[in-house]
């Protein structure tokens, strides 16, 4: 007779696994990958390939030769980090800078804390911010993509991002209206579709939203962080805009420009580095939204999404402690 297994209940298990979640994120990123290929051509493919390959390589090397533990490069998490890191850099970034970024993401951002699940910060953002501070010139010279219906291939022409144009113009004393009227300002439609200067994956809001709908429908992410993030960013930037529309851009432009959509749906929602309870996630989202707008409006950098999310990542343990789930049958203390 065959031997029977004896184990504690439950004896059945959901079909969702770490792997299916990670590969689900990769599937959600596919539309944005296509958009980046369309606008940046072979450069986009080069950046994504190098980033992913380097991330997988470093994870493998560190797990096999430094930690000497099980190798988990096929769990999909390094793949996600690789794609997200590529999405956060300009398409003409030299390969060796990318490799350094991958090493920082995987090595410092993830493995030094004990691997997947132990990292307090989003690994891709750790790598991105490291590169931004270490290589400010290369990280902020954005190749302009060909226009939405244009035919010219991407070439050596570089220019600032939507938010960069705004920041520069505002500090030169121009009003928002003057800047937006200038010919090199991309405008709403180009921001929505992706025809703007910027990092590889942040340019097309619509492709990113498509993936976000997929992740929400497969329950890979929940609505809490994105809704709170966008809500607080819109309300805060809306108040500023209503007070002084000549110095502050409107909320719609804030949402479409820069890395807002990418950050909101793909990086702030990173489950490892964000709070675990619904209440905590809402607090996290509100904080990230406020910080993003503050950095964009008053900070030295034109873009604040990466910093905002990393700062909120640091608050995650505190938020987890402070915002407990609603307990069943909570006894209300009298007196």
């Amino acid at each position: 007779m065959n031997l029977l297994t004896v184990s504690g209940s439950p004896h059945v298990h959901t079909h969702q696994s770490v792997k299916s979640i990670m590969y689900g994120v990769v599937i959600a990123l596919i539309p944005a990958i296509f958009v980046s290929l369309y606008f940046f051509g072979i450069d986009a493919a080069r950046v994504i390939f190098i980033s992913v390959a380097a991330c997988l390589f470093f994870e493998w090397v560190i797990q096999k030769y430094l930690i000497k533990g099980p190798v988990t490069i096929n769990d999909g998490s390094a793949l996600v980090t690789g794609v997200l890191l590529a999405f956060n850099v300009p398409s003409n970034l030299p390969w060796w800078i990318l490799v350094i970024g991958a090493l920082v993401s995987i090595g410092i951002g993830k493995m030094s804390f004990g691997g997947l699940g132990k990292n307090p910060f989003n690994p891709a953002l750790v790598g991105r911010v490291f590169l931004l501070i270490s290589f400010p010139v290369q990280m902020t010279s954005w190749p302009l993509p060909k226009g939405l219906f244009g035919t010219g291939l991407t070439d050596a022409i570089t220019g600032p991002t939507t938010l960069g144009v705004l920041k520069e113009g505002l500090s030169a004393g121009k009003t928002v209206q003057e800047i937006m009227a200038s010919p090199d300002f991309p405008g709403y439609i180009n921001d929505l579709m992706g025809a703007q200067g910027g990092s590889l994956g942040e340019i097309s809001a619509i492709a990113l939203l498509l993936g976000a709908v997929y992740m929400l429908s497969r329950k890979i992410i929940t609505w809490h962080i994105p809704t709170a993030y966008i809500g607080s960013a819109v309300i805060f930037s809306g108040i500023l805009w209503l007070v002084d529309p000549s110095h502050y851009i409107d909320p719609a432009m804030h949402l479409l420009a820069g890395g807002m959509i990418l950050g909101v749906f793909y990086m702030a929602t990173d489950m490892v580095s964000s709070p675990m309870t619904a209440r905590g996630q809402i607090v996290f989202g509100i904080g990230a939204g406020l910080l993003t707008i503050m950095i964009r409006v008053w900070g030295a950098y034109p873009e604040g999404v990466s910093f905002a999310i990393l700062i909120m990542n640091a608050f995650t343990p505190l938020i987890n402690n402070a915002f407990k789930p609603k307990r069943f049958g909570e006894v209300v203390k009298n007196g």
Binding site: M1, N2, L4, T5, V6, S7, G8, S9, P10, H11, V12, H13, T14, Q16, S17, V18, S20, I21, T72, D75, G114, G115, L116, G117, K118, T222, M271, V272, S273, S274, P275, M276, T277, A278, Q281, K324, P325, K326, R327, F328, G329, E330, V331
Partner: protein
């Protein structure tokens, strides 16, 4: 449609045996009847080795308030009184009987005629339920007469009847509602009379539409008894979840349903109450589902208590080639058996045979802090935190984080994408925290 709000999961239902009518399992050659078949103190054996017993004769007496009588489920000769390893894996004292014929104890009404009139008064009802060894058949096996004696200062307003059967695979309550509905509802009326309540709700999940329709027809003749259809969600059969779903009342932490004016009983218990009060029949048999994806003949069987599990499996076509695990109960809360000789007891609702491939747990990975266990917990706890505290033996902190509220439904482990055995840690933590609390009480 109503359901409970907090947490919950949706495991695959797999109600393979739902369409199979209840069959009577032929009498086994031998039975082994554990004498402690309810929560509370073990009962005292009142027969001796070598004695001849009749079906329905008392063989062990419950002597304290929370304990219950046990009756012989067969006629025959007591061969020994010895330990047996029961479904929980612990050794229990048991009476072994060799079956000879099937002569029943006098006074038990075995006719199929349904007795509608409830002539017994409150005290007689409670006495009979106690004498006939009726316990909660939902799985917890709490002595039923105790539930009917509402403590001073508390008042029962509603009787809730649990026909939810939220465990995947199990269909014994479903079949019972379809085939014994009339008697079950009379049992409900008896319970209402004993409690002095005017209103009873029978909660049934909508995946048992035929049972909802059938009982609605029966209940139309019984004012005060109402069927409440519920949305399918596990663990709706947990009594706190059921009360929340039906009445939107929350039983406070650490308290019993009576705190919010409710008494909850399972449909099987209601039928046992009917048989005890109207027919003088002790609880000596119950409906057991035998099921599994590879089981040749998934069945719902009326089984005498003490019958070895192997006899049930044999009836359902034998142990499948690819069997990997045999479970007493459902896949969410059931216990994996260590042997096929384990006897069916009052709390056995089903025997589930799982295929080899699905029997083994996947290796546990690092927690990715996704918070799915927190979202799934129907008690609003943080299983990830409680598991960590238990692992690190921080039981005082675990107590503060309300580990004792855990109902062990398994939703956390079920939903964990990293396959972490959260409930294993929580069980350990509950056990140790419980010891801590008891010791504190002694000082």
């Amino acid at each position: 449609m109503k359901t409970f709000k907090l947490g919950g999961v949706h495991p695959e239902e797999n109600k393979i045996s739902a369409g199979k009518a209840i069959e009577v399992l032929p009498l086994p050659a031998k039975v082994c009847i554990p004498v402690s078949q309810s929560l509370g103190a073990p009962s005292k054996v009142v027969v001796e080795k070598g004695a001849m017993v009749k079906t329905g004769q008392i063989i062990a007496k419950g002597e304290s308030f929370i304990s219950s009588n046990v009756h012989s489920s067969v006629a025959g000769k007591v061969t020994k009184i010895d330990d047996v390893i029961d479904t929980s894996g612990y050794k229990r004292q048991a009476v072994y009987i060799d079956v000879e014929g099937d002569e029943w104890e006098e006074g038990i009404d075995r006719s199929p005629e349904i007795i509608h009139d409830i002539v017994s008064d409150r005290d007689t009802i409670i006495r009979k339920i106690n004498e006939m060894g009726v316990v909660g058949l939902g799985g917890a096996t709490f002595p039923s007469h105790v539930k009917l004696m509402v403590p001073d200062g508390k008042k029962a307003e509603y009787l809730l009847i649990n026909g939810v059967e939220c465990e995947p695979y199990l269909t014994s309550d479903h079949r019972l509602m379809l085939e014994r509905g009339e008697e079950m509802v009379i049992g409900v009326k008896i319970l209402m009379k004993a409690l002095g309540v005017g209103k009873a709700f029978i909660g049934i999940e909508k995946n048992k539409q035929d049972a909802i329709v059938h009982l609605n027809v029966i209940c139309s003749k019984h004012p005060g008894v109402e069927v409440v259809p519920l949305k399918v969600k596990y663990p709706q059969g947990g009594e706190k979840q059921l009360i929340k779903a039906v009445l939107n009342r929350e039983v406070p932490s650490g308290k019993l349903p009576i705190e919010v004016g409710c008494v909850v009983n399972n449909v099987g218990t209601a039928l046992a109450v009917y048989e005890a009060v109207q027919k003088n029949k002790p609880l000596i048999d119950r409906v057991v589902t035998v099921t599994g994806k590879s089981v040749a003949k998934p069945s719902n069987l009326l089984v005498r208590i003490g019958t070895p599990v192997s006899a049930l499996v044999e009836f359902a076509g034998g142990l499948p080639e690819d069997a990997g695990k045999v479970i007493s109960g459902g896949p969410m809360m059931g216990k994996a058996l260590t042997s096929m000789d384990v006897p069916v007891v009052k709390g056995t609702s089903g025997i589930l045979i799982m295929q080899g491939a699905e029997s083994k747990r996947a290796a546990a990975l690092n927690c990715i802090r996704c918070g799915r266990c927190i979202t799934a917990c129907p008690m609003g706890l943080e299983p990830v935190l409680l598991a960590q505290l238990s692992e690190n033996q921080l039981f005082e902190r675990a107590e503060k984080e309300r580990i004792m509220d855990c109902i062990e439904c398994g939703s956390c482990h079920f939903t964990c994408p990293a396959g972490r055995p959260l409930l294993d840690y929580l069980r350990l933590g509950k056990n140790k925290t419980g010891i801590l609390i008891r010791n504190r009480g002694k000082k």
